[in-house]
Symmetry: C2
Subunit: 570 residues, 2 copies
């Protein structure tokens, strides 16, 4: 089974993104060869089993499918937990864009299994960025080696997306070599990998509020601090953390998802990361990477479903060409409607993967303030677009498989269920819309927007043989600009009505820009069949998807609220 | 738990559709009262259990959840299997539109349970239409009484949507009081209710080809005949039918779905319905009702998810209004993006239900050739639009519930999985597109299209306070007309590239027409809150949905193929 197209990934990395200044070709090839093989060998075989045999909570401990544990040991043995970390902390020092391309294979093979290293890397990245040397040695290095796993503990039962309402509290109790020490009490919900029986220890990064001298908690998100709260303490004893429950999900089932209770017996021990009140900023630093990873996983699931659909459509015989009676049935790929569906999947899946690798490269280049600004602007798109349109590719995969696609005999139904999580976690689509329009555009200095404007103008101007698409791209960008101008003129908060449709429109314009660029790079690439496919997907995107931008933005441009303030009619 | 809005159903039946000439208000009220109560009492309690405890095949017999059997006995005791049948054959003689409104409650409560009576009614309807008196007495009456259940056996493993390739064969073996008798051999796939342990017998209606004098099977769909093949023969003995397997589905799990093998021991006994070669015509007669029923079930699932979302959004406290810091969190229904999602759900769910009831009334009026022509034209829309947009309402329901919506603790994830079947069975969306554009428009006498054109022109002209929407409706209809003209000018078969996007566009124009009409009827209705809601949903549809029509039709109007004939690039 082909999980992703290696030719496409090579094209994206080398021909489209030009990663030569970040990594040499031999290293990239070696990592991708290894990833493709290991994903097929270690992750794919338990894909369906991990869906059937869900994590179980027995006597306070979560047991996950042993095959997942074996796969993760192998992943650790290959050194892939630390692939993107500096050699000084035990990593390989590979660029993030290559690590992302590597990771996509594992996500495609078993997204639930891949969640453990994804969260572990995000956790360790935060510690290497904001932690002390002692904290890095004690808590990040074992994760970079893949011996310990990590989690992010943000949400609480009463506060999902609303982090200002976090009620977990931390009481200062001194200081040691690991930093200022606190006692934490509170409940954390939706903790992926919150417990499991694979890694030797689990490092929780917990968002909490420090109890003030007046015994009160600080208000708002400025009061949030971040704590390292390990399952097992440095002395080997159990920390005061209880798994209060497991969530049973529609998909993504191999990843345990826990309700954790901290401090039922007096307080879980945690060490502060950085300074008090820096928790949200630290989390957001990590969030760019985590959100791109979610998008990348969503893209990988859609991509695998696209390739499965193409294979099925070539093999499944049914019906005849229009106007032909009798004779043998043809493969369904001969039917125009199946071709339309495959082309739509290709535009979704390859477009989503390209977007995520583009943003991953920006992570590598984020030392340049322009690149960092562009990354910040594009992150909500990298999170959302693949989550929505990778899922669309999964939906079409079921349709191409017909009744079979709705059964558990084929993989596409599980891929669809798995991918349905992605528009929810790490910030729902609605949260991303607010982030994009409210924080990144209306509330920012516009550096990122200026850069994107220039990139799109340059692409439109240099569209060459694709000049019609260049014109359409420039026109769509003008729609976006006009919508932003309209939002700036609105009463405070009125933009909230439009944030999600704006996100859809903005995402489509970004994708159109990248599809144009992909088609141009492919035309120079030399493989006629490959270039033809990229040009067709580009054409499909410009003719069938980009025209949605104007209607999505129309209410915002007119200043119509999406719904009246009244709610009694629902 | 409110499954559907009784106020909305009353409005649709009495104020919008004016069913007074078909049924008196007291009867309608009594049936709806009873349906609402019985659905909540008998169907809803086992909704999730039927998902967890799937049908099992043990020693050749399928066992389904006992609670489903109990519910169906209760449904039979209420006489609802026969609600829509004439009193002469044991029914209540109620109009189809009222039966549909009744059925919607049961579909909303447990779609998988409701599939048994839906299929049984369709089977019995076919028999009362095309069968002999003896066949009706022997096979339809027990189904109308709810003692026996029925199935439709069309698909085969090698021939899903392609009925010309049906390979099940029938050999003549004489005649008796039940009609010309045949021996059938072959395999039938995707047979919902193909076996179960609830009804005393199962009546299979089997599409097969009669072996000719030359021992050959006739080619094409003209060679298809329809046979009554009961599980138990009139003498009480087992017919030669084996359950060769059960399909395990993503949702809709309470409905057993079987691979049936006919004639492994020499031939299953079946009686011909009507004349040889009439099978497809007979099936298609039944298909209008069956396809509207699928749409109705999809609408009901979306509707229930919408109401669950509205309730959740009123109860769930999270976040604060824009610009407000501190203070208590508000219900999420206060957030503009949640209001946008609820309004979108309302437009989908209420629009879908209205469409299905409108078409159900056309079934009642189909003695009028104009009404029959309109029904024929609208049937692919009634099947598809609710299947796609009811599912969209289910998708949004998960989003409104956030992480909780992805868990099995709430109903919305199952409603989503259940509804994902509806764009597939009884003809996929692609098949419906071909039916609409190829058969109902390009291949028909245009009577239905002429009527719809007139209806839409009248509605646009009389749009009164909604004049802007009337203009938009007329303009969208012109887009449709122009696309049809373009299709007529295409090379033979080229329209196949456009059939599905045309179906989307046509469906949206039909819905816009009906939303305008609903808003107008509601404005006259007297309940200000209710009328406000309908007007808002209408406005949402016209501003956020109808503008998609032009881009969907643009490639068809230009005559661009959706994808090139080449397939090597997938």
């Amino acid at each position: 089974m082909t999980l992703l197209s290696r030719q496409d990934i090579d094209f994206l990395l080398h021909d489209w993104l030009g990663v030569a200044d970040l990594v040499d070709r031999d290293t990239a090839d070696a990592i991708l060869d290894l990833s493709e093989k290991a994903a097929a060998r270690d992750f794919l075989p338990h894909y369906k089993l991990a869906d059937r045999e869900q994590p179980e909570l027995v006597d306070g401990a979560v047991h996950i499918l042993p095959a997942i544990g074996d796969a993760l040991k192998s992943y650790a043995d290959l050194g892939l937990f630390g692939a993107g970390f500096a050699e000084e902390v035990g990593g390989f020092g590979l660029p993030h864009v290559l690590c992302s391309a590597s990771f996509a294979w594992f996500a495609a093979a078993s997204i639930a299994t891949s969640a453990y290293p994804m969260l572990t890397a995000a956790n360790a990245r935060l510690l290497t960025t904001f932690g002390t040397a002692a904290q890095v040695d004690a808590f990040a290095r074992p994760q970079i080696a893949g011996r310990w796993f990590g989690t992010m503990c943000l949400s609480e039962p009463q506060a999902g997306s609303s982090l200002a309402d976090v009620a977990t509290q931390a009481r200062a109790e001194g200081e040691d070599v690991l930093g200022p020490r606190y006692r934490l009490t509170g409940s954390k919900m939706w903790i992926s990998g919150g417990d499991q029986d694979v890694s030797a220890n689990i490092v929780h990064l917990v968002l909490a509020k420090i109890v003030g001298a007046d015994s009160k908690l600080p208000e708002g998100t400025e009061g949030l601090s971040l704590f390292i709260v390990p399952k097992l303490l440095p002395d080997g004893g159990r920390n005061d953390i209880v798994v209060a429950g497991l969530n049973h999900k529609m998909g993504y089932r191999g990843t345990s998802n826990c309700l954790l209770s901290f401090g039922e017996m007096g307080g879980a021990t945690g060490w502060l990361v950085g300074a008090p009140g820096q928790g949200l900023r630290q989390m957001f630093h990590m969030m760019n990477e985590a959100r791109i990873s979610v998008g990348l996983g969503a893209a990988a699931l859609g991509y695998r479903a696209y390739l499965l659909s193409a294979t099925y459509a070539r093999e499944r015989l049914q019906g005849r060409p229009a106007g032909q009676r009798g004779g043998a049935p043809v493969a369904i790929i001969e039917h125009p409607d199946v071709q339309r569906m495959l082309l739509s999947q290709k535009a979704c899946a390859e477009g989503a993967l390209a977007l995520c690798l583009y943003c991953a490269k920006l992570v590598d280049e984020a030392g340049d303030a322009d690149k960092a600004a562009l990354l910040s602007l594009l992150t909500p798109i990298a999170k959302t677009w693949p989550s929505e349109y990778g899922l669309a590719a999964n939906d079409i995969a079921i349709q191409i498989h017909g009744g079979y696609g709705y059964t558990q005999d084929f993989d596409v139904e599980q891929l669809y269920r798995d991918n349905r999580l992605n528009p929810i976690h790490e910030g729902t689509t609605g949260v991303q819309g607010t982030d994009l329009l409210g924080r990144k555009i209306l509330g920012a200095d516009n550096r990122g927007l200026d850069i994107l404007r220039r990139e799109i103008a340059d692409a439109a101007a240099a569209s060459g043989e694709f000049a019609l698409f260049g014109e359409a791209l420039a026109a769509a960008w003008q729609e976006v600009e006009a919508a932003i101008d309209a939002a700036r003129a609105m009463a405070p908060g009125a933009w909230l009505h439009h944030a999600t449709p704006f996100l859809w429109a903005f995402g489509h314009v970004v994708l159109a820009w990248q599809w144009l660029s992909q088609a141009q790079a492919a035309a120079r690439h030399g493989d006629e069949r490959f270039a033809f496919g990229k040009a067709q997907a580009c054409r499909h995107f410009f003719t069938s998807e980009l025209p949605k931008v104007a209607p999505w933005l129309a209410p915002m441009r007119r200043g119509d609220a999406s719904a009246p303030a009244r709610t009694d009619y629902f």
